[in-house]
């Protein structure tokens, strides 16, 4: 399992670097190659505009990874801060903040991200904003629960009675204990943000043409499924390998770091 995850992830990493090294152009058009099947010139065939599917897959995964990383960092920062404040102070502040997370959680799946992306308009930046606006909730919930449990641990109380300030208590005495659980959560959220990005791009709300995105490629693949089934199959299998690898990697990290989410 661990081997599979490492193999697949390093395969994509090396492929992206080699693609960059050999200057594969995801946007160069070859009208003679439109929807062609894999050949020596186009290893994975060409898409509906005669662009190399391989080059577009590589650029797509790169963009997707960057978006996912940015969104994960932003959502984690916001979510952890909200969770720390709610868990540390408790009472009315906690109730208020948790009510807000309840409202965000009332929108199932990526519905809220779809709604935000719809009003903000398509594009890379707006996509990142839409995903960030909805993604912080799970971090806030997780951090709040853990902080509630840690707030009255003896080392925190000791530091408090020695006159430590609130920021010091939170960042020096509580946050470090949350590190491993947050690392694991971040791995899973990386996978789910990549899926969400692809879903929005699939719906035409994310990354816009001519930029490459796996979601948009999958949609084009569906459109040309009858004439060029290899297109959708190649994108589908690539997507499957990546999601499986990231999730397996997350499982491995969880076992390794021995994180217990239930207290």
């Amino acid at each position: 399992m661990k081997k599979f995850a490492i193999t697949v992830l390093s395969f994509w990493l090396i492929a992206v670097m080699l693609g960059r090294l050999f200057g594969l152009n995801p946007n160069s058009i070859d009208l003679n190659a439109i929807l062609s099947t894999p050949s020596a010139a186009y290893w994975l065939g060409a898409d509906d505009l005669g662009r190399s599917i391989l080059a577009r897959l590589l650029r797509g995964v790169e963009v997707s990874f960057v978006v996912a990383t940015v969104v994960t960092v932003v959502t984690m920062t916001i979510g952890v801060l909200v969770g720390l404040i709610a868990g540390f102070y408790g009472g009315k502040i906690d109730q208020f903040l948790m009510k807000i997370t309840d409202i965000f959680l009332a929108f199932p799946g990526i519905l809220l991200a779809i709604a935000f992306a719809a009003v903000l308009g398509p594009g890379l930046v707006n996509l990142t904003i839409a995903l960030s606006m909805t993604g912080w909730v799970s971090y806030a919930r997780l951090t709040r629960g853990q902080t509630l449990a840690l707030r009255y641990r003896q080392h925190v109380l000791a530091a408090e009675s020695l006159g430590a300030t609130v920021p010091r208590l939170i960042f020096r005495h509580i946050l470090p204990l949350l590190a491993s659980i947050l690392v694991v959560e971040a791995t899973y959220s990386l996978a789910s943000v990549m899926i969400a990005e692809a879903s929005l791009s699939f719906l035409g709300l994310g990354i816009q043409a001519p930029n490459a995105s796996w979601g948009a490629m999958l949609r084009d693949g569906v459109r040309y499924m009858l004439v060029a089934p290899h297109y959708v199959l190649i994108v589908g299998l690539s997507l499957m390998s990546l999601i499986l690898a990231i999730n397996l990697g997350g499982d491995y990290l969880r076992d390794k770091l021995d994180v217990r989410t239930e207290k």
Partner: protein
């Protein structure tokens, strides 16, 4: 009984929050929403008319209360493009989505629960490992992956089912399978876990000691107790199914509320977008609430925590 009121008041706050957030959506449009909707070439008179129509020239608080009052009368406003009242659109689209969601639920249950029982009975044998592995991994795969793959296999290669649309009676099968498979994967895992937990209980040992057959022990004694958490999951998943329909309906051109949402976004028909988001979110909240209440009523051990 006070706790049930607490539950209802918390439910009401969430509903209010959902209404507020959906209402605020249109104010998140960068720049002037009226210009975005009508395009730059629209005349000033047209713009002013739409602005007045949407109430955008009034203070936000007035706008929100007007929005609530209209909603209470079943008035979702009208589509900017077709000028039809949105409620009429919802009346034809919503049932299509519910039909799809219910069939998916049926597929999910009829695959997931038997498979989960099978896995629990064969716990730690190779059959269990295979079933668990497949279900864990399948549930991680998004609908926009599963849909095209099923379409490729059953519609393009085998030619058994129509590719998309709603014309034929069999059109519903592929979208329902797409949603149902994901659900069945989750249910398989839940059934397995829940059944294995129960199988260690004292009363199961008693039932076995009485000399009952393994089949009776499982089906009459263990499954009954294990079913409760499964029902909760089914309820919770019903809401997610409603959201999952957005992508599945788009893939298979199924004219439900999810596709209406995507179409309205493409046309920048924000009032329709707003209405679709609201209806899906409210359905989700309502299903969750009902599941929660039923669960607490069914299991006397669960007390309202408030």
């Amino acid at each position: 009984m006070t706790s049930i009121f607490k539950q209802i008041s918390s439910f009401a706050t969430v509903i209010f929050g959902v209404l507020l957030l959906t209402f605020l959506l249109i104010h998140l449009v960068p720049g002037d929403p009226v210009e975005v909707m009508l395009g730059e070439s629209a005349s000033t008179a047209d713009r002013d008319m739409l602005r007045a129509d949407l109430g955008l020239n009034q203070p936000v608080v007035t706008q929100f209360s007007r929005y609530l009052i209209k909603l209470a009368h079943g008035d979702f406003g009208q589509s900017i493009h077709t000028k039809t009242p949105i409620i009429e659109m919802l009346k034809t689209r919503y049932p299509a989505t519910v039909k799809l969601a219910l069939l998916s639920l049926l597929i999910g249950i009829s695959i997931g629960i038997p498979l989960g029982i099978f896995a629990a009975l064969k716990a730690n044998h190779w059959q269990d490992i295979v079933v668990t592995l497949v279900s864990v991994r399948l549930s991680a795969m998004p609908a926009f992956w599963l849909g095209p793959m099923l379409m490729l296999i059953f519609a393009v290669w085998l030619g058994w089912l129509p590719v998309s649309g709603m014309e034929s009676n069999t059109s519903i099968i592929l979208p329902a399978l797409t949603l149902g498979f994901g659900l069945s994967a989750i249910l398989t895992r839940m059934t397995r876990t829940s059944l294995l937990e129960v199988l260690n209980d004292d009363y199961i040992r008693t039932a076995r000691a009485k000399g009952l057959t393994e089949k009776t022990v499982i089906l009459r004694h263990a499954l009954r107790a294990a079913l409760l958490p499964i029902i909760t999951i089914v309820g919770l998943q019903m809401g997610s199914l409603l959201a999952g329909t957005v992508i599945t309906e788009t893939i298979f051109s199924w004219d439900g509320i999810g596709r209406l949402l995507v179409e309205s976004i493409e046309k920048r028909d924000y009032p329709v977008t707003q209405a679709c988001v609201l209806v899906v979110a409210l359905s989700y909240v309502l299903v969750n609430f009902v599941t929660d209440v039923l669960y607490r009523m069914a299991d006397p051990r669960v007390k309202f925590a408030g």
